[in-house]
Symmetry: C2
Subunit: 480 residues, 2 copies
C-alpha cells in the first residue's frame, strides 16, 4: 500500500490552499493526543512509533500518486510540482513505545513545514490510534492474567490484514508472549504459537485417533484441544490415554486446551483428572471469547488455568474499539517566529494545550521508583522544586498544587530531525519490558480495571497562563 | 504483505500433520458462515470476495516463506518441499458481494485438497469478516439516512491502513457515495470527498479570512466548516458573507459543515439563516460521532441535513466491532467418495450444517419481486413446489413448513474452479447497486434497525434429515 496516500482528501485540499495563500516557509507543530481512555481506564500504552518514523523517513510521492492527484482536477500545477519534489523534512518528538500516556499529553509532536506536517495527519493518527488501542487492551488483559502467558490469536476476526499484523505487534507491546499469526511472527520476531483446531479432530474417525495421530507427528508438542465432543467425558480421558502412551515412549506431554463451555468448572475438573492420572505438570490453556474481566473472574474463581489464548476481544478491542487520538495545531511560525496556537471549543475539555511542550514524569525523592504525577511544561521551562502546577483536567477539583522534593524525568524524545531518523527501538520484547517497568512505577490504584484512580497530570503555571491568555484572546476575536 | 502468511501457525501444524498421516489426495469442503448478526440486525451484507479470489488465484509460497517455516523447526522437509511447489487448486463458490446473507448460510464454500483448503482459513475469514462487518454497518447507516449521500471519512480511527482502505471499499458496497481516503479512492475508483479541517481555520488570523482564502482557492468548492468558534454567532454569518462575495463573483457556494454541538438544533437554525440570506440551495453536511441511530434521530427531529460525513463508528463498526464468521468442515472425500461431516456441540445453535450445499432465495409467484424465505439445500437436490422445509434456526418455534407457488433462485456462484478464476465483479458501485436491489426484495420488517423481524431460513427435509443422522452418529461415537 502507498501509505503516503492513506491521507484524507482534505489534507491535500488544505495543503494546496496553504501553498496558494500562505508563505511557503510557514512552519507548524501538531500534537497527537487523546482525551478519553478506552474502557474507562486511566492511561493508554503508546504504540506505533516505529511504523510512523519509518514511513515519514521514506515519505515521498511517486509519479503515479501525482498523476492520481492531478486527475482530481483540484490542485494547481505548481502545487503538484512542489509535491513531486519534496521529501518529508519534519522533526518528530515522541514518547517511546510502551510508555503509559495520560489524557491530553502529547504522544507525538510533529514540527516542520506546514504542508508536510499537515499531510501526515491521517496516516499518523491511523497508526498511533490503532496500535495504542490494542497495546492498551493487551496490558489490561495481561494485568488481569497476573503474569500467566497470553497468546494473541485473533487474526481471523481482526479488521483486515494490517489490523491482524500490527495488532499482534501491539498486543506484544502490551504484554502478550506469542501470536498465532505467522505474518506478524516473522515480520516482528514474535514467537509463533498454536496447536490444533476442531477441524483436526473431525478429520479423523474419532477423537482418540485424532489425538494419537497428533502425538505421533508432534511428540514434543502434545497439546490437545479437548472440547470437540465433550470435555470431561471424552476430551480429557482421551488426552490422558495419549499422554500415558507418550510418556511410555519417553515424551512428556504439554497439556490441553479448553475452548468452550464453562471454562472455570471444566478447568477445575480437568486439573483434578490430570493430576490423578499423574500429569500435574500438564498445562491447561483456556480460550473462547476472553477479555480482561473474564480472565479476572476465572482467576478469582480459582480456575487452575496456566495460559490464555485470546482472539477477537483483544485484536479488535471490541469492548471499546476506538482510540480517538487527534492531531492538533500547537504552534506555528509566522515570519520566522513561533507563535503558540489554541483550538477553543464550547466544551472546556476540548480546548487544546498550546506551544512546544515537554512531558515530565514526577518521582518522589522519598520513593524514587514511584511516579506521583505528570507535568506538562513548555519545552524551554526548567522544572525545579518547589513547582506550582495546575491540574490539566478542567473537571478536576484539586485545581492547583505545589510539588516539592521530586525528580522530573522528561518523556518526549526526538526520533526524526528534519527528516533524518534517529534510532527507534524495533525489538518488541524490549518495548514490552520498558512498558512493564514504566507501569510498575505507577500507583496501583491507577491500574485498576474498574474505576481506576485518576493519576494527576498537571500543567506548569506558565503553560496554564499561556493557555488562559489564548482562550481569552480567541473569545475576544470571536466577539468582534 | 505476504497474505499467504496471514495464517495461524496451527493451520500449518495441522497441514503438516495431515501430510504425515492422511492420504495426500484427501479433499475437503469448508463453509464460511456466521451465527449472529452485528447490532442484532437480521442479515449481513457479504463483502470481501474480490480480495479472496485474487489472493487464492495467486497463492503460493516464496523461498523466504519456506525459509521462515523451516526456522520454526516443526515441519517435515517433505512437507516444506510440497508447500514450495503447490499453487492453490481450490474451487470457490460464493454469494456475490453485496448479497444480504442470513445466519448459517454459507457466504463462501471452498473445496479442494484438504491441506490447501485448510491453509486458507485465517486469511479468508479475516477478509470476509472485516469487509462484511463494515458493509453491514454501512447499509444500516445508509438505511437510516434515507437516501441522503454519506461520505466515509474514518481513516484516522480505522484499525490500521487496510482497515481504512478495505473498510472504505466495504462502506461503498453498503451504500456510501464517497470516501475521504485517497488510497481507497484511487485503488477502488471511489469518488474522493472532503473540504477543510479546523486546522485550516486556525491557520489564519480569523475565521472570515480563512473562509475568504478558501473561496479564492476553491471558487467551485466553497464548503465551509462553521464550528471552529461558534456555529451561529460566527461560523454561519461568516460563511454567508463569503457566499455573497462568491455569488457576486459568479460562483455559487456548495454549503456548510457542522461537526460539533447539538447538530439538530444547529442545523435547523443554520438552515433558516442560509435561507433568509438567499442561499436555500446551500447544503448542510453533518458529522461528529454519527451512527445509524443518531442519523435516524436527527432526521426524526426534522433536522434539515443534506449529507452526512461518518467516521469512526462506521469504519470500525464500533457499536458491534466483530463479525464472528467461522470456517467449518462440511464434507471430505475419503477414498474418492465425498462424506458429509458435522461439528456437534453442547449448544444446538452451534451444530454445523453438513454437505455440499446451495442457498436459494424463495420468491412468491404472486409477488415475484418479494423474497419470502431462504432455503438451504444439498447441491444435488431439485427445489420444486410444494417443498417441505424445516427451520434452520433451532430456537425458532415454527419448526417446519410447506412452501408452495414459489420461484427459487440459487445464490451461490462459482468464482474459482480448481484454482482458475472466473470473472468477479470489481466495480464497487455495481456491487452497491446489486446489494440495493437484493435488499429491496426483502421484507421491510427484516430491515428495521431495532428488533428486526427474523427472515426465515429453512433447510430442505433431506438436508435436515442428514444433519439429524450425523448428530445421532456423533453422539453415539462419543458414548462409545
Amino acid at each position: 500500500m502507498d501509505l503516503q496516500m492513506l491521507t484524507d482528501l482534505y489534507e491535500f485540499s488544505m495543503a494546496n490552499g496553504y501553498y496558494a495563500t500562505l508563505p511557503h516557509d510557514r512552519q507548524a507543530r501538531f500534537d497527537v493526543f487523546y482525551r478519553r481512555v478506552p474502557d474507562n481506564g486511566s492511561f493508554v500504552i503508546a504504540a506505533g512509533l516505529q511504523q510512523v518514523v519509518e514511513q515519514v523517513a521514506n515519505w515521498h510521492f511517486s509519479k503515479e500518486n501525482i498523476e492520481y492527484l492531478k486527475s482530481l482536477k483540484e490542485f494547481s500545477p505548481d502545487f503538484l510540482d512542489y509535491l513531486s519534489k519534496i521529501k518529508n523534512s519534519c522533526t518528530i518528538q515522541a514518547l517511546p513505545e510502551g510508555t503509559p500516556v495520560f489524557p491530553r499529553e502529547p504522544i507525538i509532536s510533529i514540527s516542520g513545514p506546514l504542508i508536510e506536517a499537515q499531510l501526515l495527519e491521517t496516516f499518523v493518527l491511523n497508526i498511533i490510534n490503532h496500535q495504542s488501542l490494542i497495546a492498551t487492551k493487551s496490558w489490561q488483559i495481561n494485568h488481569a492474567a497476573q503474569g500467566r502467558p497470553i497468546m494473541e490469536f485473533g487474526a481471523r476476526r481482526a479488521q483486515g490484514p494490517d489490523a491482524a499484523t500490527y495488532g499482534a505487534r501491539a498486543a506484544v507491546i502490551g504484554g502478550c508472549t506469542s501470536t498465532s499469526n505467522l505474518q506478524a511472527a516473522s515480520q516482528f520476531h514474535i514467537p509463533a504459537a498454536g496447536t490444533m483446531a476442531h477441524a483436526w479432530v473431525e478429520s479423523f474417525p474419532d477423537e482418540l485417533s485424532a489425538f494419537q495421530a497428533w502425538a505421533k507427528v508432534y511428540p514434543n508438542k502434545i497439546s490437545l484441544l479437548v472440547d470437540t465432543y465433550d470435555v470431561l467425558k471424552s476430551g480429557v480421558p482421551n488426552a490422558i490415554r495419549v499422554f500415558k502412551q507418550a510418556r511410555a515412549n519417553g515424551h512428556e506431554p504439554v497439556g490441553i486446551r479448553i475452548d468452550s463451555g464453562d471454562i472455570s468448572q471444566l478447568a477445575i475438573k480437568a486439573r483434578q483428572m490430570l493430576d490423578e492420572a499423574g500429569f500435574p505438570q500438564a498445562k491447561i490453556t483456556a480460550s473462547n471469547a476472553l477479555d480482561a474481566h473474564v480472565v479476572k473472574s476465572l482467576l478469582d474463581d480459582g480456575a487452575p488455568i496456566d495460559n490464555f489464548g485470546i482472539g477477537e476481544r483483544l485484536i479488535t478491542s471490541s469492548s471499546s474499539p476506538v482510540l480517538s487520538g487527534v492531531y492538533k495545531l500547537a504552534e506555528e511560525s509566522v515570519n520566522g517566529k513561533w507563535i503558540p496556537t489554541i483550538k477553543v471549543s464550547d466544551s472546556r475539555e476540548k480546548v487544546t494545550i498550546p506551544g512546544n511542550k515537554q512531558v515530565y514524569r514526577i518521582y518522589s525523592n522519598d520513593q524514587p521508583n514511584k511516579a506521583i504525577a505528570d507535568v506538562i511544561a513548555l519545552a524551554d521551562e526548567s522544572i525545579t522544586t518547589p513547582l506550582k502546577v495546575v491540574n490539566s483536567d478542567p473537571t478536576a477539583t484539586n485545581a492547583s498544587q505545589i510539588l516539592t522534593n521530586f525528580t522530573a524525568k522528561p518523556l518526549l524524545k526526538t526520533y526524526l530531525t528534519a527528516g533524518q531518523p534517529a534510532k527507534v527501538e524495533t525489538d518488541v520484547f524490549k518495548i514490552q519490558q520498558t512498558s512493564r517497568q514504566l507501569r510498575a512505577q505507577l500507583p496501583e490504584a491507577s491500574k485498576r480495571l474498574v474505576n481506576p484512580d485518576r493519576y494527576p497530570v498537571y500543567l506548569t503555571t506558565k503553560l496554564a497562563d499561556l493557555q488562559e491568555q489564548l482562550i481569552t484572546k480567541a473569545q475576544f476575536a470571536e466577539e468582534n
